[in-house]
């Protein structure tokens, strides 16, 4: 463990005093209000944990009480469908994460301990519900600064050169002119509204996201495609994401497509995800099957607010009826070969391409019957057809459905109208941002 020196005396005290400052000053001002959905025995455990937070018991006891709260609420979160889980249990879970993270940081935590505390906060952010003014977000930011301080002292070299590696040249499929999604440069709000939003016609908007820091700042730079620059681009992206979010836990989809039997979701830190699925370090199966991992449909910018600075919500979203607060912003980060099966979403979508390129195909909702949606409730918005390898016997009408296609490259902003079927395959390491709005 490297020795940490700060201006404020003992380093451990400094971390705890920052965390402590973000908490209510005393037990009396620490709220524990729950509906009667939460049994009194659970409230009792929460009160014990609160008492220990402000009292003087040893570390092991504190973590244990918090773990009981986490284990019990975890069971409630996994009972029934996620949609129907009472919000109170997600709150209880967040309290459990708070007590556990605080307990881990109380007494001279090692770097490992801080990383564990960050993971705990992330679990609360992912599965819990915001409590006490989103205190988990506040605490994770404090912890992240601490980790970055440690990282800075350990790692002074710029290893970018050493990490340049061979990336397969992106095989850009030939797009047929007559099927190409139309491209427009910087249309006015009125013309976009009249020509594309109201008639629900897909279009690629160019020049709109060029001003994003993500497409201009050093770490993300080199927008336009030349082979060496693409390589550098991706290397910079890896480095940047590691430095900003390396030890943060994110959900990762493993498997070729979410309709496959062996598809699953797992939790990894950003470091682990990049190592395993972007850089393909370590395990490469002998049977040649390299599992594809996709950091997909994740509200990364809510979890890591620093990244929000690098992107902007497209102005055209104001043409919708909803509030800006209701716009869902998702990150999509993965290696070459990630596939989102043909599906439709209930909102308008802007898909911004930041790094790398994606092959995208669009079908109109008028052709829904030719796309053979799954019968089940769960997958009703997903087509059964493998777009680039359709089974003509099972799905004879599919080949008759008209479509538009494109290769989305950095700087492009694709408008996918509501309910428009879309299929996406990444042609290389890719980072996209989607905006769901109404």
């Amino acid at each position: 463990m490297t020795e940490r020196r700060t201006a404020f005396g003992s380093p451990a005290a400094s971390l705890w005093s920052k965390i402590s400052a973000s908490l209510p000053p005393d037990e009396g001002q620490f709220p524990l209000q729950f509906s009667d959905k939460v049994p009194l025995s659970v409230v009792e455990m929460l009160k014990r944990a609160r008492q220990e937070l402000y009292g003087g018991t040893t570390g092991a006891g504190r973590v244990l009480n918090a773990q009981v709260i986490l284990d019990y609420s975890w069971e409630r979160l996994n009972t029934g469908t996620w949609r129907h889980v009472d919000k109170e249990w997600r709150r209880v879970y967040s309290y459990g994460c708070l007590f556990k993270a605080a307990a881990l940081c109380r007494e001279a935590p090692s770097e490992e301990g801080i990383v564990q505390a960050i993971r705990t906060c992330d679990m609360g952010l992912l599965m819990g519900a915001a409590i006490m003014g989103n205190i988990l977000q506040v605490i994770v930011c404090i912890l992240q600064s601490e980790i970055r301080k440690l990282a800075k002292e350990e790692d002074d070299q710029d290893h970018v050169e050493a990490k340049k590696r061979k990336i397969a040249s992106s095989h850009v499929g030939l797009i047929r002119e007559e099927l190409a999604v139309p491209r427009i440069k910087c249309p006015s709000l009125e013309s976009f509204n009249a020509n594309h939003l109201l008639p629900l016609k897909p279009v690629i908007l160019e020049g709109i996201i060029d001003h994003w820091p993500a497409l201009n700042k050093r770490p993300w730079r080199f927008v336009f495609s030349r082979s060496t620059r693409i390589q550098m681009n991706i290397v910079f992206l890896d480095e940047y994401l590691r430095s900003v979010a390396g030890c943060r836990t994110v959900p990762v989809e493993v498997g070729s497509r979410y309709t496959d039997e062996d598809w699953s979701q797992t939790l990894l830190t950003v470091n682990e995800f990049i190592d395993k699925y972007i850089l393909n370090k370590g395990q490469v199966s002998e049977n040649g099957h390299k599992a594809v991992g996709y950091l997909a449909q994740h509200q990364l910018f809510d979890q890591i607010p620093e990244l929000k600075e690098d992107i902007r919500i497209p102005d055209y979203c104001c043409l919708g009826e909803g509030d800006e607060d209701d716009i869902t912003v998702n990150a999509w980060f993965g290696p070459k070969g990630t596939v989102s099966p043909l599906h439709q979403d209930p909102q308008q979508n802007f898909l911004a391409q930041v790094v790398g390129s994606k092959y995208i195909r669009l079908y109109s909702p008028e052709d829904t019957e030719k796309l053979y949606p799954h019968e089940s409730q769960l997958l009703h918005n997903t087509s059964q057809v493998e777009v680039e390898n359709p089974d003509a016997e099972r799905f004879p009408e599919f080949v008759k459905a008209a479509y538009l296609e494109c290769v989305l490259k950095p700087g492009d902003l694709l408008f996918i109208p509501v309910k428009h079927w879309h299929y996406v395959r990444s042609l290389e390491v890719s980072f996209s941002v989607s905006f769901w709005w109404s």
Partner: protein, 380 residues
């Protein structure tokens, strides 16, 4: 007969522990500990934070231990709640249901009401044979409102086990029905969809079952020949089938996990060279070999663990072990049935087991006693 408890004890529902330097010991009991006051025949029922004891040789009162009960386990509740003559009980986190010869009552443990939240008279003596809690005449009592739920009489229900979000019913003919949540294969119909009405487990058709049990997300039943069948979620090895999650934690430094997302359906292709097949969800009944030579006498499920007693008096446990509920004196979880050595070492013959969500209670008699008398009937 003596009852031993081990596992979760944060509310002193197993025993009161002296405050020592090791704070950890107060939340969990690792070494099977004999329950006080249990002289003679008694039944145990356990919820997450409480234990209910029904003493059959006395005037049949119910005593509660655990959350908000007095330490000495005095007879339950305010003066109005007279539990004398009680024959059976079930307890959940919020309700205690008591069966008397002439009535069944369900009490809200969180309220100060002086009347039960649900009550039914048992009018005909023949009806009392229908009472095998949580089964009651005409249906069953659930752990949350609505307390009473009807069941079609044609099912001829013999016993019922209620899990975390599902139910498993055994009929007089030995058939098994399930209903409720199905998201983790706990209904045994081969899929993940919920069922609103009892649906027969077809995979067990033609085989007569004699006993059923339900955990948080898994189901277990014993066949007439003493075989054990399991299905549902295997995230902590509670099915006794290989669990990927357990291999990972045993390989890495075992962090205290804050919890995780649900696992995948079916089998995951393994990455290790042995190409082992891991089961995360078992959607159809599978046979589990608990002990190669012995028949299973009785089985009980906790939230994420399973405990089985063989006809030869061994207690086997497997599944989630974080709170010592497996009785092997470590917090390790297991995906293979393992004998609880404590009882063997003490020359005790286990005759019954009852699981709370995070703990386990085993009834045992001395082996010498056994040699002299017949094996006592296991009081259900």
């Amino acid at each position: 007969m003596r009852w031993f408890g081990f596992g979760f004890n944060a509310f002193a529902q197993i025993c009161v522990q002296e405050k020592s330097d090791k704070e950890e010991s107060s939340s969990a009991v690792r070494v099977p500990t004999q329950l006080k006051n249990h002289v003679g025949r008694s039944k145990i029922r356990a919820s997450w934070s409480r234990t209910a004891s029904l003493f059959l040789d006395e005037d049949r009162r119910v005593r509660l231990a655990g959350f908000s009960a007095s330490i000495s386990g005095e007879p339950l509740g305010p003066a109005v709640l007279d539990t004398r003559g009680c024959e059976d009980a079930v307890i959940s986190e919020t309700h205690l249901t008591l069966a008397f010869p002439d009535r069944i009552e369900s009490w809200d443990l969180q309220s100060k009401d002086e009347a039960p939240s649900w009550r039914t008279e048992i009018v005909h003596r023949s009806q009392s044979s229908d009472v095998h809690l949580p089964l009651v005449p005409g249906g069953y009592v659930a752990s949350e409102p609505p307390i009473f739920r009807p069941l079609p009489s044609h099912l001829q229900a013999k016993s019922l086990a209620l899990g975390g979000g599902h139910a498993i019913l055994l009929t007089a003919a030995g058939a098994v029905y399930t209903w409720g949540q199905g998201s983790h294969g706990q209904l045994g119909h081969g899929g993940l969809i919920p069922e609103e009405e009892p649906r027969t487990v077809e995979a067990l058709w033609g085989m007569s079952m004699r006993s059923v049990a339900a955990g948080g997300w898994h189901s277990v039943c014993i066949g007439d020949g003493g075989d054990l069948y399991v299905w549902g979620w295997n995230e902590s090895g509670q099915l006794g089938l290989p669990s990927r999650g357990l291999r990972k934690t045993s390989q890495q430094k075992s962090d205290q996990q804050a919890g995780g997302l649900c696992g995948s359906v079916g089998t995951c292709p393994a990455e290790d060279p042995h190409e082992e097949v891991f089961i995360s969800i078992q959607a159809f009944p599978a046979l589990v070999d608990v002990s190669p030579t012995c028949e299973i006498r009785t089985v009980s499920c906790g939230s994420r663990h399973t405990a089985a007693v063989t006809t030869t008096g061994c207690l086997y446990t497997w599944g989630w072990g974080e709170y010592g509920q497996l009785g092997h004196q470590t917090p390790a979880s297991l995906d293979e049935p393992q004998c609880v050595e404590f009882f063997r070492n003490e020359n005790l013959h286990v005759v019954d087991v009852v699981c709370g969500p995070w703990n386990t209670f085993a009834a045992a008699v001395e082996k010498e006693v056994l040699d002299l008398k017949n094996v006592p009937e296991s009081p259900l």
